[in-house]
């Protein structure tokens, strides 16, 4: 719901409630006051009539009292306390009923009690009430229309800076060129503050992004340089022809360790880059083409392990970084080969909704909750333990889902687009 609609709805309902309450109070007050006045008159009239009866020892004739008509009913020896009440009286012709106020009391005459009822029409009050109600209703409608129009005009004018800021925020990109905020000058304190806060926040986000980028670049430099040094010293060292086999074996171990170290570094830095969105060379990719390229690169290794591969690739294009998608396919495919047995099978399936890579291997379900965690790997694995974490985080970056299933004999990793 838009802010304007919400605001209008709330203000309209509040005014409606207030008007209804106000109307009721008006109505009650006017009724009460007019009843009060009538009751006073009727009480006076009652007293006069009682006095008249006492004095003249007869009931008054209608014309003897100017306004109010009295009726008498014999009620024997019982007696009623004097009370005022609302009542309805039929006109003489009986066609119409008139709302009235009445006073009912007892008068003693010739040893018998009579109930005396004096009524007064409240028609005037009723018409006043009707008029008040009509005016109130008209006011409500007028107010509603004014609110609707004023809200719309004032709202659009007052909130304009807000919508401009909103547009600006939507266009904001960490990596893009900084765009100046184009907001009409406003005197509203909140918007001025919001504007300042956004400028400040954008600057800080950009600074943090830059420092993170520098950090990963520096970290990569600082970590890779010593590894490069170890490698070149080893390359030199093995040229020495006097080395014996035991020494060479140790050097080989150092080679392996430095190789692993460099892979670990690269993988960790890659994770930092993925997690912080530092890779954004997004382009349109033909996924089946990417997969075919990767399969061709892995041909040697599959041939060596005599692994059969089935490809079932339907056309599918995605918008992503080629670099990351290559890593994703590479990680999944290399797992499918590495954890396969000699003479095993691998199958890749691709369609509009998913990519699945499955392989034969150890007949044991992997721990589905933990395989995607960092450094989670089988004791026999030679990998860094980061491959699946990287794959999952690449998928998360693009809103894909990476899942694992074991349907014997196939371990199956699938990416849901």
């Amino acid at each position: 719901m838009k802010l304007l609609s919400k605001y209008t709805l709330v203000s309209l309902s509040v005014s409606l409630i207030i008007f209804v309450i106000g109307g009721i109070i008006y109505f009650k007050t006017i009724s009460y006051l007019s009843d009060q006045q009538l009751d006073r008159d009727l009480t006076e009239e009652f007293a006069e009539k009682v006095g008249f009866i006492d004095q003249h020892q007869r009931f008054p004739k209608p014309f003897e009292f100017d306004t109010y008509e009295a009726k008498f009913q014999g009620i024997g020896q019982s007696s009623e306390a004097t009370r005022s009440t609302d009542t309805i009286v039929s006109t003489n012709s009986g066609e119409k009923t008139i709302p009235c106020r009445a006073i009912i009391g007892t008068v003693r005459f010739h040893g018998t009690n009579y109930r005396m009822i004096i009524t007064a029409s409240t028609e005037t009050t009723q018409s006043v009430l009707k008029l008040v109600s009509t005016i109130t209703l008209a006011l409500i409608i007028l107010l509603f229309m004014t609110l609707l129009i004023v809200n719309r005009i004032v709202f659009e004018r007052i909130w304009q800076p807000f919508y401009q800021l909103l547009r600006h925020l939507k266009d904001f990109s960490l990596t893009g060129e900084p765009k100046p905020i184009t907001v009409n000058p406003t005197k509203i304190k909140e918007f001025v503050e919001l504007n300042e806060a956004i400028v400040h926040m954008e600057e800080r986000a950009k600074d943090e992004y830059q420092s993170l980028k520098f950090f990963t670049e520096n970290a990569s430099h600082e970590m890779m340089t010593p590894v490069a040094l170890i490698n070149s010293k080893l390359d030199n060292l093995i040229q020495d022809e006097t080395l014996n086999s035991a020494q060479l074996e140790q050097l080989n171990d150092i080679y392996s360790a430095s190789r692993r170290l460099s892979h670990l570094n690269q993988s960790l830095l890659l994770l930092v880059k993925i997690d912080n969105g530092l890779i954004h060379d997004v382009s349109e990719l033909d996924l089946s083409k990417c997969i075919k390229q990767k399969v061709a690169q892995f041909e040697d290794v599959m041939l060596e392990k005599n692994i059969k591969i089935n490809l079932n690739l339907l056309p599918k294009t995605i918008k992503a970084s080629k670099y990351l998608i290559d890593i994703l396919i590479s990680n999944l495919l290399s797992n499918a080969i590495r954890h396969n047995y000699t003479g095993g099978e691998t199958a890749i399936f691709l369609d509009e909704s998913m990519l699945s890579i499955e392989n034969t291997g150890n007949e044991q379900l992997l721990d589905t909750r933990r395989i995607f965690e960092r450094f989670e790997k089988s004791p026999s694995s030679e990998g860094t333990g980061l491959g699946l974490t990287i794959a999952r985080n690449i998928c998360l970056t693009y809103g894909f889902k990476l899942e694992y299933q074991f349907t014997p004999p196939f371990h199956r990793f699938f990416v849901l687009f």
């Binding site: 060479l248 290794v301 041939l303 990998g383």
Partner: protein, 155 residues
């Protein structure tokens, strides 16, 4: 700096952007840390050849002649058919002749993109074995000597 000097930039940054920037600035090659000396040597040789190549782009070693334009290997004038990996491997070994080239360096050179493999180099041995056999049959010489557990020397 001499005008005709070759430039190789060695950096720890492996992003595509960084490579392109370096190459656009006039570098001849871009090598990412960590690297092997054998790799550096092969790259230097390649630049040297490119800068000094006159007419035919040929590389000679003993009886072996490699035509780099045609991707063709000839032994005493007879053509020898090699797979792509074997061809690349031969070039690498010739660039590093008389030096011990480690398995690590070979794998990094030939399978750079997918070197996600642990310490198992089984697939490498097959390629070396095949190249060795082909050269042995064509020349009658075994150019390779294996250095215990660590690599090969080409001489």
């Amino acid at each position: 700096m001499r005008k005709d000097a070759g430039i190789i930039i060695i950096s720890a940054r492996n992003a595509l952007d960084d490579r392109l920037t370096a190459l656009n600035l006039g570098a001849d090659d871009y090598l990412v840390k960590p690297f092997h000396l054998a790799e550096l040597k092969a790259r230097i040789m390649a630049i040297y050849r490119r800068r000094n190549f006159k007419g035919e782009n040929l590389l000679n070693y003993d009886q072996i002649t490699v035509d780099l334009d045609m991707m063709d290997v000839r032994i005493d004038g007879r053509s020898l058919s090699l797979t792509r990996k074997e061809f690349e491997m031969l070039l690498y070994f010739i660039a590093n002749k008389n030096k011990v080239v480690s398995h690590n360096a070979l794998v990094d050179h030939l399978w750079r993109d997918e070197s996600v493999w642990g310490e198992s180099f089984d697939f490498l041995y097959t390629h070396i074995k095949n190249l060795r056999k082909k050269l042995l049959e064509a020349t009658g010489k075994d150019y390779f000597s294996s250095v215990y557990g660590i690599g090969y020397k080409f001489n």
